[in-house]
């Protein structure tokens, strides 16, 4: 028992230990990457975990929110119960040994809703809009979840793997004049 504890203290970063203690089964996996710590969390535990990271563990900076479409990655799909998307939160702290932390949450194609984290980081506003625009992830509680990069009339979400590189004729049709009319 004591021997095992010594080993975990040597190898596992403190953040992972704290998250394991607090969320237990809520964590699907955790790992150390080259640039920091990666935590995969269940969707129900996402907001509490991010809140805990910000308020108690001083991850005060939200670097980025994005998503990954795992349609073509069979092993990732199998690992996370065939959840198509992975929403990724990059966090940064100015204290502690592991400044960079990545939180991932698997999102199913049938239920694309994820809680918005604007209440924690104001900067999440545009990042969530971008993720919505590019992947179609819906952020519950977002005050203005509209497209930010593509025109409002645009159909589809371009960074999804099933979206063709040359589009579906949007660039040939040019019916985006209305917004300036």
């Amino acid at each position: 028992m004591t021997e095992e504890k010594v080993i975990t203290e040597d190898t596992t970063p403190l953040v992972i230990q704290q998250l394991r203690d607090k969320f237990g089964d809520g964590l699907l996996s955790d790992a150390e990457a080259k640039d920091g710590v990666v935590v995969v969390v269940k969707k129900d535990n996402l907001y509490p975990l991010l809140e805990y990271l910000k308020t108690d563990l001083a991850y005060s900076m939200l670097v980025d929110i994005t998503a990954v479409d795992n349609s073509n990655l069979e092993e990732e799909l199998i690992k996370y119960d065939y959840a198509r998307f992975m929403v990724v939160y990059h966090l940064y702290t100015f204290e502690g040994e592991t400044p960079r932390l990545r939180v991932k949450v698997p999102v199913n194609d049938q239920n694309l809703n994820v809680p918005s984290v604007i209440n924690l980081w104001k900067g999440a506003n545009w990042l969530e809009r971008e993720t919505y625009d590019m992947f179609g992830i819906e952020f519950d509680g977002h005050p203005n979840l509209t497209r930010i990069l593509m025109p409002n009339e645009f159909d589809g979400h371009p960074l999804r793997k099933d979206y063709p590189l040359r589009g579906r004729g949007e660039r040939e049709r040019f019916n985006f004049d209305k917004q300036n009319a």
Binding site: L149, M150, P151, P158, Y163, P164, L165, R166, G167, R168, E170, R171, F174, F176, D177, Q179, N180
Partner: protein, 173 residues
């Protein structure tokens, strides 16, 4: 008094004792003035704009050709330089800027992206601004060197001096 069609000095007479007289037509004088005072409206969206800035700066010095008065208001300019890639979201903005420019107006499509989409054959990028703007001069290159932009401006000047109408006027009903 022989009329030289290619020159502003259409005829020179030294018959008069009180000095030289130059004869020409009003169109040629107007075109001559117009070509040497082109006021460009820069529409820089990418790396071509960096080359455009270099063209305007002291080393390449576009003011030698009378085009140094860059106006960021389309209402005061008569030469639109589209330098960079144009997305479908940017297209209405560019069209509106072109529409605000007073006639006569010329358009230079600078670089591969503005002319044909360049390497960006993607869902969001317009494959050439000539799909919605009447382009007078295209510049190849990725990005073109400042000499290429100077050459394009001189080509516009030659068109003006010849009395050719800009593409936008020809296209208008």
């Amino acid at each position: 008094m022989g009329l030289d069609n290619n020159n502003i000095q259409s005829g020179v007479s030294t018959d008069q004792s009180d000095g030289n007289i130059i004869t020409t037509t009003i169109d040629k004088v107007v075109n001559w003035g117009r070509k040497n005072s082109l006021w460009p409206m820069p529409f820089g969206t990418a790396c071509c704009a960096i080359e455009m800035m270099a063209t305007l700066a002291s080393k390449y010095d576009l003011s030698r050709f009378g085009s140094e008065a860059i106006r960021f208001s389309p209402r005061q300019s008569d030469l639109l330089i589209v330098s960079g890639r144009i997305s479908i979201k940017m297209m209405p903005v560019l069209k509106r800027i072109y529409d605000q420019m007073p006639d006569p107006k010329w358009v230079i499509s600078m670089g591969a992206c503005a002319s044909c989409g360049g390497v960006f054959d993607t869902y969001t990028l317009i494959q050439g601004v000539d799909q919605f703007l009447p382009v007078d001069v295209y510049i190849p290159g990725c990005p073109p060197r400042p000499e290429d932009l100077i050459d394009a401006v001189m080509q516009v000047q030659r068109q003006i001096q010849k009395g050719e109408l800009p593409k936008g006027v020809e296209a208008a009903p």
